[in-house]
């Protein structure tokens, strides 16, 4: 039997809400029934679950869940709410005789004056709860939310000034608190500023955690970050129980200064050092993996050129034979400090990189495994087809969430390997002779566009 639950979301990353709900229910092997046309821009959503335990699992793991309620009623007016609530009497009548309780009335995007809060509560008097009111430790908490349209432009979600337009809410939701979300506190736990090792490429904690949830990280899984840098996503993944491999073309990103390597120091701080299986220095386009189908997930923030440029081994121009001989000599006498020879690198165009990454993931992922990565893109120019230009047979996009920075943005893409076939590693060659009228994805030459301010003045230096 399915029961309805009211999910209250934290006010951030609204585009990431549904993918997270879906990933965590898939990870724990239960079904979540979503509304037919879910509006993720809204802070409340009524979903159906087969078991209250599933609500608890979601609240423990989803970074974007503030709390979950047993759903009793919703409506654009209180008349509608009370009507529905009465018709759902069977859900709450067991609390009538002897259950201590409290009532919360809260506005979203709005502060409801105390007086009217009391009125709202009094209008639920027909529920006739006989237990004592207990504000500190009630057995049940009833919650009534009034959702207001966000008026001025407070994208930061601050409540509107005082009580203006009190009562002009968009919708009301009513239910009984099941569980407060506990995963959100991890955002503080993994705060980059409090980390033993981080750098200017470190990914903010909340996004790293959301990415980790998209990988379905859990004990017994092996997850790989091929652009490891300072390892931001490795820590949440390891915290969720998975084993981690990391590699980077620049060993200094993973080492930092001092010993042990920075990534290990940070992992130690979080108690997950033993989950970091190994770190390796190599160019992912010239990688030493002996075989494919190794990983349950690949999670990565590819170098898109704003802070950490994409590069690959090689040179734009070939060297003369003498120079080659010199380099050869140099490379024959390595020093053991990770700098036996620093090979030259050449730029790696983002749309090639993205295509290669999907092919690499298809090779390295186990069947059913996931690739989770960011794709920066110029918001105005972005089209759905951008992702499809980099897709290949056997891989399927299952989530695509925008993080909007104004004139640019980035999309968190989750791709599942749907095929059981064995695939070869990618050839890492730019697509030769592209048709002239072929679609040019908006992330092509992202770096250049970024530094040109996307041909506009303004907020292009958001990073």
């Amino acid at each position: 039997m399915r029961t309805r639950y009211l999910v209250a979301f934290a006010q951030s990353h609204s585009d990431f809400r549904l993918p997270e709900l879906q990933s965590i229910s898939e990870l724990h092997d239960f079904h979540i029934h979503l509304p037919d046309e879910p509006d993720t821009s809204r802070p409340f959503m009524v979903v159906e679950l087969e078991d209250e335990k599933h609500a608890v699992i979601l609240a423990k793991r989803c970074i974007l869940i503030k709390s979950i309620y047993e759903f009793y009623a919703q409506g654009e007016t209180y008349d509608e709410v009370h009507k529905m609530n009465r018709s759902n009497r069977h859900l709450w009548e067991k609390y009538i005789p002897n259950t201590s309780f409290k009532f919360n009335v809260t506005g979203f995007n709005h502060t409801i004056p105390q007086r009217r809060q009391r009125d709202v509560i009094e209008n639920f008097a027909y529920m006739d709860f006989r237990g004592k009111i207990d504000m500190k430790n009630p057995e049940i908490t009833m919650a009534c939310f009034e959702e207001y349209e966000c008026r001025q432009a407070p994208a930061n979600g601050l409540p509107r000034k005082r009580c203006e337009d009190d009562g002009s809410f968009k919708e009301i939701f009513f239910g009984r608190l099941i569980v407060e979300g506990t995963a959100r506190q991890l955002v503080g736990v993994f705060d980059v500023k409090k980390r033993a090792y981080f750098g200017n490429t470190s990914m903010e904690a909340e996004i790293s955690l959301l990415m980790a949830n998209q990988t379905l990280a859990s004990p017994g899984k092996l997850i790989y970050d091929p652009f490891m840098g300072t390892g931001s996503m490795a820590y949440p993944i390891a915290y969720f129980g998975a084993l981690v491999f990391g590699s980077d073309i620049d060993g200094r990103q993973m080492r930092g200064k001092g010993k042990p390597p920075g990534v290990i120091r940070a992992a130690t701080q979080y108690g997950v050092a033993s989950k970091i299986i190994d770190l390796c220095t190599f160019d992912v386009t010239h990688n030493p993996w002996r075989c494919g189908e190794l990983f349950d997930a690949i999670i990565t923030d590819p170098p898109y050129g704003v802070r950490a440029g994409a590069k690959r081994l090689g040179r734009k121009k070939e060297l003369s034979e003498e120079k080659k001989a010199l380099y050869f000599q140099h490379s024959q006498s390595p020093r053991p400090d990770d700098q036996p020879y620093i090979p030259p690198t050449k730029p790696y165009e983002l749309s090639n990189l993205a295509t290669d990454l999907v092919l690499l993931a298809r090779y390295l992922l186990k069947p059913g495994g996931r690739l989770v990565f960011f794709l920066p893109t110029v918001t105005d120019e972005y089209q759905e087809v951008d992702i499809h230009t980099m897709m290949c047979e056997g891989m399927e996009v299952i989530a695509n969430s925008l993080q909007d920075f104004g004139s640019w943005g980035r999309r968190l893409i989750t791709i599942r390997k749907t095929s059981n076939n064995k695939y070869l590693p990618p050839a890492y060659r730019p697509v030769a002779g592209e048709a002239e009228n072929a679609h040019v994805p908006a992330h092509r030459d992202f770096r250049e566009k970024y530094f040109q301010g996307f041909n506009k003045d303004g907020d292009s230096l958001a990073a």
Partner: protein
């Protein structure tokens, strides 16, 4: 670090080095044994990816002879424990890995191997 599970998954990838390029041979190594959490389920499911002969040979070169030369069909608890130790608890902290074919030297420092190739070694 460089645990043997990692070592077992890496092959020399220099240009035209396609045969006899695995397993890489450890040289001048400095070992550390670090206890790791026992995860029998993971070992069982990952075993098909492991090249048994390479693992046994490498473990022996590092002084661990706990694994049978021929891969047993039945995996008992003792074998799982030994595999756990060999795959996850032996760490190579310093030294190098040498390609048996082209002799490329992949140095290891602070547990991180440098697998970068030189210019003439990339395809």
């Amino acid at each position: 670090m460089v645990r043997l599970v990692t070592h077992n998954l890496l092959a020399c990838h220099a240009k035209d080095c396609n045969t006899n390029n695995f397993p890489l041979v450890f040289q001048n190594v400095q070992l550390e044994i670090r206890e790791a959490e026992f995860n029998p389920g993971f070992i069982q499911s990952f075993l098909p990816k492991i090249e048994w002969n390479a693992l046994v040979k490498t473990a022996q070169e590092l002084g661990d002879t706990s694994l049978p030369i021929d891969q047993p069909e039945m995996i008992d608890d003792e074998l799982l424990k030994n595999l756990h130790h060999v795959l996850f608890e032996i760490h190579i902290v310093e030294g190098a890995m040498i390609c048996p074919n082209c002799k490329h030297n992949y140095p290891i420092s602070d547990g991180i191997p440098n697998m970068l190739l030189a210019e003439h070694e990339i395809a």
